[in-house]
């Protein structure tokens, strides 16, 4: 069992309706990808938003890739770096 705190920023927080989630994943080995999938499966709006923005993933404040492992008690953050400017 892996319990993680998830922090969401900007449009990702808007999509989920909160800036913070605590989730339990009943798996031995959990990757960032699993945390994302958990959110995607429960918050369809997150999937929609994700189509338009890349996601910056952090585990305990360090930028990582989807295949990075997540341990019990870790803090996982998802930020949507935005692309506009003109």
């Amino acid at each position: 069992m892996v319990k993680v705190r998830v922090k969401l920023f900007a449009v990702l927080a808007d999509a989920v309706g909160t800036k913070e989630l605590v989730i339990d994943l009943s798996k031995e080995k959990v990757k960032v990808r699993d945390v994302l999938d958990y959110i995607r499966s429960r918050y369809p709006k997150f999937r929609e938003v994700e189509k338009n923005v890349p996601i910056l993933m952090l585990v305990n404040g360090i930028n990582v890739l989807p295949d990075n492992e997540v341990k019990d008690g870790d803090e996982v953050s998802f930020l949507p770096p935005v692309s506009g400017g003109s």
Binding site: V53, N63, L79, V82, S83, G85
Partner: protein, 257 residues
């Protein structure tokens, strides 16, 4: 720690320049002002971000500004691209911007280049400047500019905006994470189309970009290197997070030598 930039030889400041810049000379001295005067900065994209960053860089006395943008001014630009006015609709953005910047500060040189930014065109521009400022509106072009800045070892001051959100970081190639370290999956997403934006959002981010450029050039303060600033205008919140280089980054991950 600010990197050592290598602007040209120290120039002298005229009496008029000493008056024009007197309030900021109180901060970083005439030496800092001379560094600004001898520096060359490229602003890639003269839209919402570029309008504000280039205005403050011009006012601060950056010796040469190179503006790059292929587009012409359109009516729906005017809520945020404040260097372009109603009378400018239909004009090249680089012409419209350069005209105002020269009027704002005749002491500096402003060059406008109307061209599309791609792998073939951007290297010649970036190799001639000391710092590159992000005024772009999509990831795919940013990926190209990020790579060119890394390869040519030029500081790249990134910002992006959407609605009332934005982010910003200062990239020092091979020292701090490049854009592709921070957002590894960029470049795989399609080019974004029309996006919502309140004019104040790019202005807030772009004035910080200009400030970071001035800090890099003068050596004053600590630029936002290795950190990402996240701005949420809906709650007026600034969050700074540390970001790290990735060894496996396809752009800057290999040894620098």
């Amino acid at each position: 720690m600010a990197p050592e930039l290598s602007p040209g030889e120290a120039l002298t400041l005229s009496d008029k320049e000493k008056v024009r810049y007197s309030r900021q000379i109180m901060i970083f001295g005439e030496e800092g002002q001379k560094k600004l005067k001898s520096s060359r900065v490229a602003v890639i994209g003269v839209g919402g971000l570029g309008s504000a960053s280039s205005t403050y860089l011009a006012a601060a006395g950056v010796g040469k500004l190179v503006l790059v943008d292929k587009d012409v001014v359109e009516l729906d630009n005017l809520n945020r691209q404040v260097l372009h006015w109603t009378r400018d609709i239909g004009r090249l953005k680089v012409e419209s911007a350069a005209e105002k910047l020269r009027e704002l500060n005749p002491e500096i040189e402003v060059e406008g280049i109307a061209m599309e930014v791609n792998e073939d065109t951007i290297y010649d521009i970036i190799k001639e400047v000391d710092v590159v400022v992000d005024g772009l509106d999509n990831w795919s072009t940013r990926v190209v500019v990020n790579k060119a800045c890394v390869k040519l070892r030029k500081p790249f001051v990134h910002a992006g905006v959407h609605g009332l959100y934005g982010q910003l970081t200062v990239i020092i190639p091979y020292e701090s994470p490049c854009l592709q370290c921070i957002v590894p999956l960029i470049g795989t997403k399609p080019k974004s189309g029309t996006f919502p934006v309140l004019g104040t959002t790019p202005a807030i981010l772009a004035t910080i970009q200009a400030q970071e450029v001035i800090k890099l050039i003068t050596g004053y303060g600590r630029p936002l290197i290795g950190k990402l600033l996240i701005f949420d205008g809906t709650t007026t919140t600034f969050t700074t997070i540390e970001v790290r280089r990735r060894e496996e980054c396809p752009v800057c991950g290999k040894p620098s030598t």
